[in-house]
Subunit: 146 residues, 2 copies
């Protein structure tokens, strides 16, 4: 998940759907569903949990909480439930005392991580450019009072 593949991989990413993506008629119902899905899928915690699980393999609740750094118990529970419902993770409860619960990515969860990887790569590649654009924009728009 972490973006270090840089140029070669990015080139492939660009190639893989450049152009083609933009001019295909598609069932509007599918698009609506995809849009709805995007809202859910493109959320911060889900992607970070996927990253944690992709890196660490099967993990228990408290390990994920440590790995994701900054997430609250509530949000982690909530995110994991959602992901389980969507079939992105499998939740395994070991009925021991104290409780022990493991989570692991499904094939689909892994696939989502991989699909999203393109965005990670892009973000990594364009960080500097975006920060430059922001500085320039701010400079341009700080002084129009003059």
């Amino acid at each position: 998940m972490t973006p270090s593949l840089t140029r070669k991989q990015l080139a492939q990413a660009k190639e893989y759907c450049a152009g083609d993506c933009y001019d295909i008629e598609v069932d509007p119902r599918v698009e609506a569903l995809v849009t709805e899905l995007l809202g859910r899928v493109a959320d911060k915690w889900t992607m970070l949990v996927i990253e944690a699980l992709a890196t660490g393999g099967e993990m228990r609740f408290s390990r994920i909480a440590e790995a994701v750094a900054g997430i609250s118990q509530k949000m982690l529970t909530q995110t994991l439930r959602q992901m389980e419902r969507d079939g992105l993770v499998v939740r395994t409860v070991h009925p021991v005392i104290p409780p022990h619960v493991d989570y692991r990515l499904t094939e689909m969860g892994r696939g989502l991580g991989e699909a999203f990887c393109g965005v990670w790569v892009w973000a990594g590649e364009h960080l500097a450019q975006i920060e430059k654009a922001r500085r320039e924009f701010d400079a341009r728009n700080r002084k129009p009072a003059g």
Copy 2:
């Protein structure tokens, strides 16, 4: 942007960073920045505006508003400003009365759309599977009171 490429393209998407993404050590500062960026960049409206502009080329405010369907004036203005600041779109004001403003994607904006295309494809491919997973989850969890 719209996801109809299905299997062939998806195969490429999977191929393009499968495995490699998951086991590379990366500067945690970079990762933090990417994470921050993702939250900003991968938001629902931004992606939909990119899709509109990628499909329709240069468009004016009210055309985009029509294309994105559901967005409020406020959110569209806000999203476009953000995107302009990040260097994803170029805003061209024609100083006529009534005002006329055009927006078009930059190279970077187009690149982001392409990077995100993998997620669209994935979402399109897995919609049915996710809905099935949800139904099964809901069935499993509706009755544990029995």
